[in-house]
């Protein structure tokens, strides 16, 4: 684990030399639907590293996400009512608020999962670094590969083994041809290590993923989304179906993961927000009430409604 930390630290330093424009450029290129993946990857490394670092999960960096006037609808009902919110790169941002306030809907707009619901649509802009993910030229599949998601209930693919579950994202992704077996194995192992699950499942990779415990299943789902090397991971109440020990493991994992990805976590558990988040946003009835450093939101919020919520007076 300590070696992981060092390698991601160095990657951090290397990336810091990149000009902002070229950073934007390469992200545009990476997401644009026409560009084949293979020809883009080398340019992504150009100018940043002399000897290109081995492309592993560890070498990745998070990207910032910025919501600009985001509105989300189910049919005609407006569930998210114009939100402006920044998620800083390589930080954990927690979204808190009472049930039905639009937290999940808002988060699902970020990787365009919201539109999968029949009759649902979103308006406004979601900027991934400098690119609007709702731009008409953007391929929704590429967006979802860059912005991974972990759901409330652990949901490993029931017909697949532990190994196949983690490999699923790589195998299912469009534009990637047959991966070499050793390459796939290495990526699966890296993802499982990244999710802190490798030591527990190394000798049962061929057993069904659904046979793991609830907490392990959720970390398997995290590994599954890590395997496609996203820059952002959205977590929609990832611990609400888990016991306190499994929850603790996921929280420790979130702390490690923010070295290489930006994390947005929806949670009902305010202690959890206080433990894992760098910044916290409070939502109410589809609107953003307040966002700020976690410490401030919980101890000295600007808005009286935030204070009432975090002190348990309602919600």
């Amino acid at each position: 684990m300590s070696t992981d930390g060092i390698s991601s630290q160095t990657a951090n330093v290397q990336d810091a030399h990149v000009e902002p424009e070229s950073h934007i450029e390469r992200e545009r290129e990476r997401i644009a639907p026409q560009t084949p993946e293979e020809s883009v990857q080398p340019t992504a490394e150009q100018g940043t590293v002399q000897a290109p670092a081995k492309k592993t999960v560890e070498s990745k960096q998070g990207l910032s996400v910025k919501l600009e006037g985001l509105r989300a609808f189910y049919g005609d009902a407006e569930q998210v009512k114009g939100i402006d919110l920044d998620f800083n790169a390589n930080e954990v941002t927690a979204i808190i608020g009472p049930s039905g306030c639009g937290k999940s809907t808002m988060v699902r707009c970020i990787n365009r999962m919201h539109e999968e619901i029949p009759g649902a649509h979103a308006e406004g802009r979601v900027m991934l670094d400098a690119m609007n993910v709702y731009d008409p030229s953007v391929d929704v599949v590429a967006v979802r590969r860059a912005i991974g998601m972990v759901f409330q209930k652990p949901n490993p693919f029931p017909t697949m083994s532990v190994f196949d579950n983690v490999a699923a994202g790589l195998r299912l992704s469009a534009g990637r041809g047959a991966q070499s077996k050793t390459d796939l194995r290495a990526k699966v192992e890296a993802a499982l290590r990244g999710a802190g699950l490798w030591d527990e499942v190394a000798d049962r990779l061929q057993e069904p993923g659904a046979g793991l415990s609830g907490g392990q299943q959720q970390r398997l789902c995290i590994a599954r989304s890590l395997a496609v090397e996203p820059e952002v991971i959205l977590m929609d109440e990832p611990c609400s179906a888990l016991d306190p020990i499994a929850t603790l493991k996921i929280e420790e994992l979130i702390d490690e993961l923010k070295q290489r990805v930006t994390i947005v976590i929806v949670t009902h558990n305010m202690q959890q927000a206080a433990r894992v988040a760098d910044r916290t946003a409070f939502m109410l009835s589809g609107e953003l009430v307040e966002v700020g450093p976690t410490q401030q939101i919980f101890t000295n919020p600007n808005d009286s409604r935030t204070e009432e919520y975090v002190t348990g007076k309602f919600g």
């Binding site: 990787n111 999968e116 590429a142 998601m149 029931p158 017909t159 699923a168 469009a174 496609v228």
Partner: protein
């Protein structure tokens, strides 16, 4: 109980064991009602089983006698007026049924599952999807002889050509199609949306989600529906009577007349010769056995394809 009387007394007067038993005892009236309800349900189950058991019993007692190596390995001779062993077996009918139903399945199963996937994954609640559902429901209720007539009019009268095995297959595939669509749709609707979402959220295109996640998960359930459709088609006489017709000779060309088990049974059972009627019983038992074997194989396959 009495050993722990001390702390219990501090909380107030403890109820005695007999008082508690009286409070929690099952009332005689409820016990009676429970017994009556159980009796009715058991009786219903037994009544439903009677015809099933009788069918199997008669099939076995009448059909098993005509089973022999000759019965399976020779064609009918067409000689039905003599009480001799020269009437022949049912080889052409067995092979004909397998050929006709295999072709019908090859047509109906992919199309049916395709329609079901479209209905669930793409059409959803659109007016066109609802229209398709309506017509599928109508098709389910159409008597099988109507499909036979349809093919007869279009492909035999309409083209001025003769009976052929593949025309029987087409009639049967029309019969199978609505059963396959409806059963596959029901199974696909049972696949949790969260499964599709988590695959989509990994950056998988929709068609890959369907082929790699949704269909494999639905497979064991779909097998049941498909088997039901095959079993129904394999037992149909009416659509084959004037499409594939009947012949005595074993035939591997689906463009020719083709024999089948239901049609063979239909012809044999009306014969005045006892030996020929017995051949019908033997053929009926063969048909049931074939469907049973198919059922077992499909279940084994679908169980293996799933992770244990």
């Amino acid at each position: 109980m009495s050993a722990q009387g001390g702390p219990a007394e501090e909380r107030g007067p403890a109820a005695s064991q007999s008082e508690l038993l009286a409070r929690f005892a099952v009332s005689p009236a409820r016990r009676r009602r429970d017994r009556t309800a159980r009796g009715l349900i058991t009786a219903g189950t037994v009544i439903a089983l009677i015809p099933l058991v009788l069918v199997v019993y008669y099939l076995l007692s009448k059909g098993l006698g005509s089973w022999s190596w000759n019965f399976f390995s020779t064609d009918p001779t067409g000689n039905t007026f003599f009480k001799t062993s020269s009437i022949g077996g049912i080889e052409s009918a067995i092979l004909g049924t397998i050929e006709i139903v295999a072709l019908a399945s090859a047509i109906a199963i992919p199309i049916g599952i395709g329609v079901a996937v479209w209905l669930v994954e793409y059409g959803r609640r659109s007016w066109f999807a609802n229209l398709v559902r309506f017509f599928v429901d109508v098709l389910t209720g159409v008597p099988s002889i109507v499909f036979g007539l349809f093919i007869y009019i279009v492909l035999i009268v309409g083209t001025g050509s003769s009976y052929a095995g593949y025309k029987g297959s087409l009639a049967l595939s029309l019969l199978m199609l609505p059963v396959v669509i409806r059963s596959a749709e029901v199974i696909l609707l049972l696949i949790p949306g969260a499964l599709r979402e988590s695959a989509l959220a990994l950056g998988a295109p929709r068609w890959r989600v369907i082929f790699s996640i949704v269909l494999p998960t639905a497979l064991p359930g779909m097998v049941t529906g498909v088997l039901l459709a095959i079993a129904r088609a394999a037992g149909e006489t009416a659509p084959l009577l004037f499409t594939a017709a009947a012949t005595n000779k074993t035939n591997f060309n689906l463009g020719q007349f083709m024999n089948s088990l239901p049609v063979q049974i239909y012809k044999d059972v009306t014969s005045p010769t006892t030996a020929v009627v017995n051949r019908a019983w033997g053929a009926a038992l063969t048909l049931v056995a074939m469907i049973l074997v198919l059922n077992l194989i499909a279940r084994l396959v679908s169980r293996r394809s799933r992770l244990a």
